[in-house]
Amino acid sequence: MRPILLSGHERSLTQIRFNGDGDLLFSVSKDKIVCAWWSANGERLGTYNGHQGAVWTVDVSPNTVLLATGSADNTVRLWNIKTGECVKIWEFPTAVKRVAFSPDGSKLLAVTEKRMGFLGTIAVIDISYGENLGAQADEPSLRITCNESKATVAGWSFLSKYIIAGHEDGSVSQYDPKTGDQLANVQVHEFDMQINDIQFSPDRTYFITASKDKSAKLLSARELAILKTYPADTPLNSAAITPKKEYVILGGGQAAMDVTTTSARQGKFEARFYHKVFEDEIGRVRGHFGPLNTVDVHPAGTAYASGGEDGYVRIHHFDKPYFDFMYEVEREQMRK
C-alpha cells in the first residue's frame, strides 16, 4: 500500500473530506487555505482562498456542488466547487469548529465555539441549489444552544432525523433538527474527555466517536446505545467507518503540545485498523511524524486518507490483501 503524499499545506491539517463520488478530496488546515485534490493521483485541483483564520472544518454537499468551510475567523463560507468562488459568507460571534451537510444536502449545520461570553451553539442553515448559488438564506433557520457542555463535533443521522453532537465533557447528545430540543444525552466517554470526532456509517444508522480518553465507540443513532468499544493506547483525534469491509480506522497520537517532549517512537502516530464487529486491532499504518488529526474513507471503501499535525495528507489506496482479509466466521457466513 503505497501512500500518495499531498504536501500542499504549510500548517497542521484540521479536517479532510472525500466527496460523494470519492474522486475528490478536500483538505483544510490552519494555514487558512482550502485545497481540492484528485483522490486518484494526488494532483491538486485548486484552492479556495478567502478565510482570514485557521480553517477548522470542511464538508461537501452530497451532489458535489457546494463546499462549506468553517474557520477561526468566525465565518462559515460556501464555495462553488467548480469555479472556486465564494458564494456566501455567514458571520458568527465565535469560531466555527464543525460544519456538516444533511444527507440530502438541504441543510447545513455549524458548531460554534464557546468564547467571549457566547455559549457554544449548533446553527442549522437552509441550503438551496438554484441557478444562482449565492441566493441563500441570510440567517440560520435554527439555533441550538449548548448550556451545559459545549458541542465540539456534530453530524446528521439517517433521514436527517436527529442531529448528533459530541461534547467537550465526553457525552453525546441527540437533538431534534426541527425544534432544536435535546432528546437524549449520554455520557459515553470518560467524564471531561473531549470527543474529537464523529463520523457516520454509510446508511447513517450508527456512528463512531473518537475521544481524548483513548477510545473510540460505535453508537446507534436511534438510541445512542454503545454497540462497540475500540480501546487504544493514545488519545484519539479522529475515527472513520469503512464501507465495504467491516473495519474502523482510528487516528490520534500524543497530544500536539506534548509531541516535542516525546520521541516519534512513543508518539504512536499511526492509523489503527480495528475490526468493526470483533473489536480486535488488525493493523496499523505508519508514516506521519505527528499526531493524526483527521481520517476519512473513500465512499466506495477503496481508499482512505489521513491528515496530520505534520502538515501532510496521505492517501492510501487499499491493496488486494485488505479486501481478502476475513475472519473464518465471516467466511462461513459468506458461504451460507
Partner: protein, 743 residues
C-alpha cells in the same frame, strides 16, 4: 498531660458527637486530672513492707537507693503515709525532678524485687487516679472473653495450584494486583486493590507474605485472598528487609522514631531510633538501633561522599537466621544473637578499616571440619604500610578461617556462590601511578581443605558486573575499558563466560570459555535453576538488547572448549525498548523484562518470555512500577526424588502437553463461538435497524433512496451529468510484445 487524640477510645468519640443532652461529667472527671500537669512527676510505689513509724525513715533510705538509679529524688520527696495505728500502709508517694524520670521509674522499677518477700509495683500517680478511682474498677472479677478460634487462610495455598503456575505482584499507577501467570494468555487476577501500598511492595523470601509500605508502617498480607497478617508500625518507614527464613524483618526510616504515648507496640526503647528488628511471629520489636552514618569512616579513595547514603541492608543475616550482623564502617562488625539480640560474646569484633562484609548464603559443609559454623567474609583496605586483607571468619567461634593479603587495591567486592561453595573476591587494582586499572578475580574454594585460593588471570579492563550461576560453578563477568572523558556514549563492554575444567568430581581450575566483545551489556541475570543466563543492556537510552544464553547446549561442542564443563550457545536475542528490570520466575521457566516509570516514562510495561527468549506476551502498562514474581519455598522432595522426576520428565511432560493442547483447543473453540455470536448479533442489529428505517420512510412517504445524494433537494436539473467529473487516467497496458532478431 493534655488529652491526645490517640487516647480517646472509639466510644469517647462517639459520645462527643451527640454531646447535647448528655451529661458528660464522667468525661470531665476523666480528663480534668490529666490537664493537671503538676502531678506528672509523681509515682506511687506499692508492695512495700508494712513498718512502724520509727523504722519508716530506714525504709525510705533503703528505698531511695533503688529510686535514685533511674532519676533524682530525695528523702523529702518521699511521702509514706501512716494509718491510725502508726503503721505504714505499704505504699509511698515519690516525687521526681522531671516527668521523664517518673516515666523511667515506672518502666524500670515496676516489678523489681525489693527483697525476698516484697516486689515493687510502681505506677504514675495520674494513672492511679485515672484508672483506679472509685467505680472505674469492677468490684467483681470478670474473666476476659476468649475469642473463638478463627480458622486462618492457608499461607501457602498458592503452592497447591494444580497446574503449578506461579503468581506475581504487579504495581502500576496506584494499584497493586496479584495475578496467576497464564503463559501467553492474559494473567488471571487474584486480587487487585487501589492504593494498596504507598512506596513499593515486596514479597518475603519464601513467598509467604506480601509487604506493603505505608507512612504508618509495614503491613504483611497473606493467604489465598491476601488478608492482613501482621503489622509493624514503624512510622515513615522507607526500607525493609526480610531475614532469609522469614522469621524477622528489619525496617528503616530516615527520621528517628518519635514514640507517642498510647502507641501499643513501640515503647520508649524505640524513641529516637532509625532501625527496628522485628519478630514476624509476634509482631513485636526485638531491638532497635540508630543507623550508622556512612560517611563516618574514611573511604579508601580518601574523598568522603558529601551525600549521606544509607547503608542497606544495614543488618545482614546468617543463612540459618541465628545471627545478624552490622558493620560500623572502618571499625568493627557487631554480631547479634537472635532472638535475644545480645552481642555475641558481649563485644563487637574490632576490625580496623573494615569496608564490607558478607555472610555465606548457605551453611557450608567444609572438608575436615566437624562443627559446621556460619561463615562471614570481610575485607579491609590498605592502611599505611599494611596490605589490604580479605578474611573469612567462622561464627560463633569468631575464628579466622582464611586470610589473604592484597596490594594496590582500590576496591573489593565479595560475591558468594549461592551454596557458599565459593567466594569470588573481585579486586580492582590500580598501578603504582594510580593511572590504569585492572581487576583480579580471587576465588576461595570454601569447601576444600584449608580453603585454597585460585586467581583467575588478571583482566585488563575493569569488571563492572559479576554473577555466579546459582547452585553451579560457572560465572559471567562484564568488563569495560576506560571511558574517554566527556564521551556521550558509554564505552563498549565485553561479556566473558567462565567455567571450571572437567576434572573428576570436584571442579577444576576456572577457565575462560568465551568472551564476546563490543557489547553494551551491563546486567547479568541467571536463571534461578542455573544453566540459562540473560545478559542484558538495562537502563540505557540507546541499547536494550537481551541475549539469552544456554551454558549446557545439547549440541556439538567447540573443539577448543572440550575440557570445560560448559557448552555455550546463544539461543536468542530479544529487544525490549527501555528495559529497566529483568525478573526470572522462581522455577526458571519464564522471565519478565520490564520498563518501570520509576526510571523513565517511556513505553512503560512488561513483557513475558520463556527461558529461551520466545516472547509470550507484551503488556504495555501506563505508569507501570513494579513486577515481582512470588518466590517459592524450598522443595520438600529429597535429592533422590528430584532425580527420579528428572529421569521421568518425558512421561510427565506428555501428560502436561496433552493438557495444554486441550486447553488451547477449548480456548480456540470459545473464541470462535464468541465471534460467531457477536457477528450474528451484529447482523441482526443491522437488519432490524434497516426494517425500522424502511417503516419510517414509508410513514414519511419518502422513496427508498431518500438519503442518496443524487436525490438531493433542489439538485440542479441534469446535475448528475454536470456534477460528475471525468478523471482521465492513462493506463499503459502491454498487450503483446514480440522480439525480432534482425540480420
Amino acid at each position: 498531660m493534655a488529652p491526645s487524640f490517640e487516647q480517646l477510645t472509639e466510644q469517647d468519640l462517639h459520645e462527643e458527637e451527640e454531646e447535647e443532652e448528655i451529661d458528660f461529667s464522667d468525661l470531665k472527671a476523666q480528663f480534668e486530672v490529666k490537664a493537671d500537669e503538676g502531678l506528672d512527676t509523681f509515682v506511687v510505689i506499692d508492695g512495700l513492707p508494712v513498718v512502724p513509724e520509727d523504722s519508716r525513715q530506714k525504709l525510705i533510705k533503703f528505698l531511695l537507693r533503688k529510686l535514685n538509679t533511674v532519676g533524682h529524688t530525695s528523702e523529702d520527696a518521699v511521702f509514706m503515709p501512716l494509718n491510725d495505728k502508726g503503721m505504714s500502709e505499704g505504699f509511698a508517694f515519690v516525687e521526681y525532678e522531671t516527668p521523664e524520670q517518673a516515666v523511667a521509674a515506672v518502666k524500670q522499677l515496676h516489678g523489681v524485687p525489693l527483697d525476698k518477700k516484697h516486689t515493687l509495683a510502681v505506677n504514675k500517680l495520674m494513672d492511679i487516679e485515672r484508672y483506679g478511682r472509685e467505680g472505674r474498677v469492677e468490684e467483681e472479677y470478670q474473666a476476659p472473653a476468649v475469642e473463638p478460634f478463627k480458622e486462618k487462610e492457608h499461607l501457602r495455598s498458592w503452592m497447591g495450584d494444580s497446574n503449578a503456575r506461579d503468581q506475581f505482584a504487579l504495581y502500576r499507577n496506584d494499584k497493586v494486583g496479584v495475578f496467576w501467570n497464564n503463559k501467553s494468555n492474559p494473567p488471571e487476577n487474584v486480587v487487585d486493590r487501589a492504593h494498596w501500598t504507598q512506596l513499593f511492595v515486596q514479597w518475603s523470601p519464601k513467598g509467604t507474605f506480601l509487604a506493603s509500605v505505608h507512612p504508618q508502617g509495614v503491613q504483611l498480607w497473606g493467604g489465598s485472598t491476601f488478608t492482613k497478617q501482621k503489622q509493624f508500625p514503624h512510622p515513615f518507614v522507607q526500607l525493609i528487609e526480610f531475614s532469609p527464613l522469614e522469621g524477622y524483618l528489619t525496617t528503616w526510616s530516615a527520621r528517628p522514631i518519635q514514640v507517642e504515648e498510647g502507641q501499643p507496640v513501640l515503647t520508649f526503647e524505640e524513641d529516637g531510633k532509625n532501625i527496628i528488628v522485628w519478630d514476624i511471629e509476634s509482631g513485636k520489636p526485638l531491638r532497635s538501633f540508630v543507623s550508622h552514618d556512612l560517611t563516618a569512616g574514611p573511604t579508601p579513595e580518601g574523598d568522603v561522599a558529601p551525600k549521606k547514603k544509607v547503608q542497606w541492608p544495614a543488618f545482614k543475616w546468617s543463612a540459618d537466621e541465628k545471627y545478624v550482623a552490622r558493620m560500623l564502617q572502618g571499625q568493627s562488625i557487631s554480631i547479634y544473637e537472635v532472638p535475644n539480640m545480645n552481642l555475641l560474646g558481649k563485644t563487637s569484633v574490632k576490625i580496623d578499616g573494615v569496608n564490607d562484609f558478607e555472610w555465606s548464603p548457605a551453611t557450608v559443609v567444609r572438608e575436615g571440619i566437624k562443627q559446621q559454623e556460619q561463615l562471614l567474609c570481610f575485607w579491609t583496605p590498605e592502611i599505611g604500610s599494611n596490605p589490604a586483607r580479605v578474611a573469612m571468619m567462622s561464627v560463633p567461634s569468631k575464628e579466622i578461617v582464611r586470610t589473604r593479603n592484597l596490594f594496590n587495591v582500590s576496591d573489593v567486592k565479595l560475591h558468594w556462590q549461592s551454596q557458599g561453595a565459593y567466594v569470588c573476591v573481585k579486586v580492582d587494582r590500580h598501578s603504582k601511578s594510580k593511572k590504569s586499572m585492572a581487576t583480579n578475580l580471587e576465588i576461595f574454594r570454601v569447601r576444600e581443605k584449608g580453603v585454597p585460593v585460585e586467581v583467575v588471570d588478571s583482566l585488563k579492563d575493569t569488571v563492572i558486573n559479576f554473577a555466579w550461576e546459582p547452585n553451579g560453578s560457572r560465572f559471567v563477568v562484564i568488563t569495560t575499558g576506560e571511558a574517554p572523558t566527556g564521551a556521550a556514549v558509554p564505552p563498549k563492554t565485553a561479556v566473558s563466560f567462565f567455567a571450571p575444567e572437567k576434572k573428576g568430581s570436584s571442579a577444576g581450575n576456572f577457565k575462560l570459555v568465551r568472551s564476546i566483545e563490543k557489547k553494551t551489556s551491563n546486567g547479568i541475570y541467571w536463571s534461578p535453576k542455573g544453566r540459562f543466563v540473560i545478559v542484558a543492556t538495562v537502563h540505557s537510552q540507546s541499547n536494550f538488547d537481551l541475549d539469552f544464553w544456554d551454558m549446557d547446549f545439547e549440541g556439538e561442542k567447540v573443539e577448543a572448549e572440550k575440557d570445560l564443563a560448559a557448552n555455550l550457545q546463544l539461543m536468542k536475542t530479544v529487544e525490549h525498548y527501555g528495559v529497566t528490570d529483568v525478573e526470572w520466575d522462581p522455577t526458571g521457566r519464564y522471565v519478565v523484562t520490564s520498563a518501570s516509570v520509576w526510571t523513565h516514562s517511556m513505553e512503560n510495561g512488561w513483557n513475558l518470555h520463556t527461558f529461551s527468549g520466545n516472547t509470550l506476551s507484551e503488556n504495555p502498562t501506563d505508569k507501570f512500577k513494579q513486577f515481582l514474581w512470588r518466590p517459592r519455598p524450598a522443595t520438600f522432595l529429597s535429592k533422590e526424588e528430584q532425580k527420579q522426576v528428572r529421569k521421568n520428565l518425558r512421561e510427565y511432560s506428555k501428560e502436561f502437553d496433552e493438557e495444554d493442547k486441550y486447553a488451547v483447543d477449548i480456548a480456540n473453540t470459545a473464541v470462535v463461538e464468541t465471534r460467531k455470536r457477536v457477528l450474528n448479533e451484529w447482523l441482526a442489529w443491522i437488519r432490524r435497524e434497516k426494517e425500522i428505517q424502511a417503516e419510517e420512510k414509508d410513514a414519511f412517504g419518502l422513496p427508498e433512496d431518500a438519503d442518496s445524494p443524487k436525490q438531493a433537494l433542489d439538485a440542479p436539473v441534469g446535475g448528475t451529468d454536470e456534477g460528475e467529473t471525468v478523471v482521465e487516467e492513462m493506463v499503459e497496458e502491454i498487450i503483446e510484445e514480440t522480439e525480432e532478431v534482425i540480420g
